[in-house]
Symmetry: D2
Subunit: 109 residues, 4 copies
């Protein structure tokens, strides 16, 4: 685990927090909100988990590997749901989740 990998993972986590927050807010304004329930639910969880993971990484916590494993799960679930929707915010969110999942898997190993 290099300093560059940690830095990359923190950035991926923070980008994912932003993408999830923006997607959840946009989903809450979509006309067909009935179809966005899963997105909103998973965006919230994913944003919360990514935010914690980023902070544990920033402070060099010994819990970082286990947190990264949890974060990878959160990102995977959110990407799977958001990826099914055609909205730009969903597609951007799915992409941010996949990058974050990948960065987290490296540190979780």
């Amino acid at each position: 685990m290099t300093e560059a990998m940690i830095r990359e993972c923190i950035e991926a986590c923070l980008a994912c927090v932003a993408a999830c927050e923006e997607c959840a807010a946009a989903c809450l304004s979509e006309p067909e909100i009935d179809m966005m329930r899963g997105c909103i639910r998973l965006d919230r969880d994913c944003a919360d988990v990514c935010a914690l993971t980023a902070r544990l990484l920033m402070r060099g916590s010994d819990l970082h590997a286990q947190a990264c494993a949890l974060c990878a799960s959160a990102c995977e679930a959110c990407a799977a749901e958001c990826g099914q929707h055609h909205h730009d915010h969903c597609q951007r969110c799915a992409e941010a989740c996949r990058r974050c999942e990948e960065a987290c898997r490296k540190l979780a190993a």
Copy 2:
């Protein structure tokens, strides 16, 4: 500001976090989700602000008065919205918000 007032405010904040989380989760499963957009939005903000306020109070932060003022605003807005819906989870949430707002106003003064 007495120790009892602080303790009461922490408990009101934590009860409000729980009520908002439960209300948001339940709103996301309501058939008429179209009408619950505002609730979900404000539940999230209120839960996040109450959670931070509780922790600043627990640690005796100098920021607690200003945080309590923000928290009272968050609770007021959430109570006003949730109070308009007949669902049990909305009514419970509105009640928890009102108690938390009251406790926060005392410490914000």
Copy 3:
């Protein structure tokens, strides 16, 4: 996993957040702060992880089992460190961590 187990775990998490916040704040005022570095570090991590876990449980997130596993690790580490110090706040924190670890292990299984 019963509703009572979830409720008990949420309460144990919130009690642990409070105990960790109070312990960290008290450690930062101890004359022999040099010996409290580990406590302060682990109190912070543990409070952050417990706070997230409580909220995921409150909202019925699918991530709750994995979050409980992370939380049990955080509590275990914090209890081991705080339990070595004779201060009341450290002993109270260690006790809250052990109860939270136990409640989390049940839901992580």
Copy 4:
């Protein structure tokens, strides 16, 4: 309030979270930790408040102005304390706090 101001403020908040987390972790390893008590305390508060403010801004919350006012107070206090210490991590943190305070004041107005 323009989109660019919001974007700038979010970035300033996230940079401040990182600087505060790194400063707190480094302070906890400083030989003269006795002098770093205030830094550690304020780093924690500031990181927590900046993290919440960033997320409220990301989701377009109506609470953002009041949160930015709280955040500016947190940053001001942290910059005043960290600025008094010669450590690189303290100086970097003070600088991040000042930039974040400035960005927050614009949105709090």
